[in-house]
Symmetry: C2
Subunit: 225 residues, 2 copies
């Protein structure tokens, strides 16, 4: 890598670090481009040269932390399906420890004020992680033979993202995150599962459901009679 590119990479790194620290310290407020640039020791224009937008920077931070989570998620577990739920649980335990940090992260990551077309909220590394889990589940015969694993994986990611969106919008509390994601995952996985593996997933489904129903009391209930 040329000296120029290296300096650029260093600036990039400093910007991401600055953003992460600012979120940690000041949360939502305080995470302005001017603040990020100042903290990274670059001018306001530079982050736009290197990333293009604020959202891109935040997504980079988000990917960093998600990869960090995943390093501790691949522990041995009985079956691949259980490992999927376990990985989710690990990730969300970090969220529970520092909700403000992660909430800010997702708030900005899901922000689409800018009109830049930038779809991928998933990096090759994360993709590979989940692919390993899901394809192992398929190899174990837990999933329908005909199902497309790529689509299933993306669907799970979509569920995760939409629960985050709900959280960000104030629809659920941080304590509901795990059951909410778990319920969505269980529903989709049972939908993709073979008859033999369904009972085990159904059990999880009902557990998560119980947790969610318990907390629903205070929610606005416009359930028709």
């Amino acid at each position: 890598m040329s000296k120029r590119e290296e300096a650029k990479a260093e600036r990039r790194r400093r910007i991401v670090v600055a953003a992460r620290e600012l979120i940690r310290e000041t949360g939502d407020v305080g995470l302005s481009m001017r603040a990020i640039a100042a903290r990274a020791g670059v001018s306001l224009t530079t982050p736009y040269n290197l990333f293009g937008s604020k959202r891109t920077i935040v997504v980079a931070v988000l990917e960093d932390v998600r990869e960090f989570h995943e390093r501790f998620s691949s522990l041995h577990q009985v079956g691949a399906v259980d490992r999927i739920f376990h990985a989710v649980s690990i990730s969300l335990s970090y969220y529970a420890e520092d909700p403000d940090f992660y909430r800010t992260l997702w708030t900005e990551a899901l922000d689409m004020s800018g009109k830049e077309i930038r779809a991928d909220l998933i990096t090759p590394q994360r993709y590979a992680f989940w692919w390993a889990l899901i394809s192992e589940a398929a190899r174990e015969g837990a999933l329908l033979p005909g199902i497309d694993l790529d689509l299933l994986l993306r669907n799970l990611d979509l569920v995760f993202g939409s629960v985050m969106l709900t959280w960000v919008l104030g629809g659920i509390g941080v304590d509901d995150l795990e059951p909410a994601v778990g319920f969505g995952y269980a529903l989709a996985l049972r939908g993709a599962a073979t008859a033999e593996s369904q009972p085990r997933i159904e059990k999880r489904l009902m557990e998560y459901q119980k947790q969610l129903v318990k907390r629903r009391k205070k929610a606005v209930a416009f359930v028709p009679a």
Copy 2:
């Protein structure tokens, strides 16, 4: 209703209409609060008094059009589950006819720049509509007896919303909307279905999958070997 309240309601109505027309005519650009206010014949401050934020206004427009869709979606169909997919198909056919309009709508509806806590992207009317469909499916014995219909309904709505988010972010094209939503719905519904009703849903699942896979060729493929 007092005269005061009536005038307020009238202003409210005019604001929503102004927003809808502006989206129709100018799309994303041109939908500024100043433009909405001017078109509605009120001052810039008034929409904030009546709605609180731009997003709230757009969500009101979105609800309007979704209720409109649903009026044509409850046509007779063999089974309740099929009717669910049919309703989705009807809705999305409107999207296909006027993608710009709906894309702008969802872009703004999913925008969370403001920090207002405003979760509900679902109104009592829409809730009732979907509740009717889902509870009928349950009555027909298509769904697991133990499943909580409220949670299932919200999960489907979440899937819908996240597909819209993906669309808005440029991840998929308007032609992919129906198979993408259909796939997600089929996955979740099969996950909530009894063994007897699963084969029928599985058939749909595979149909949607086929459509999605066909179009995936050009997408960035970082599928590991």
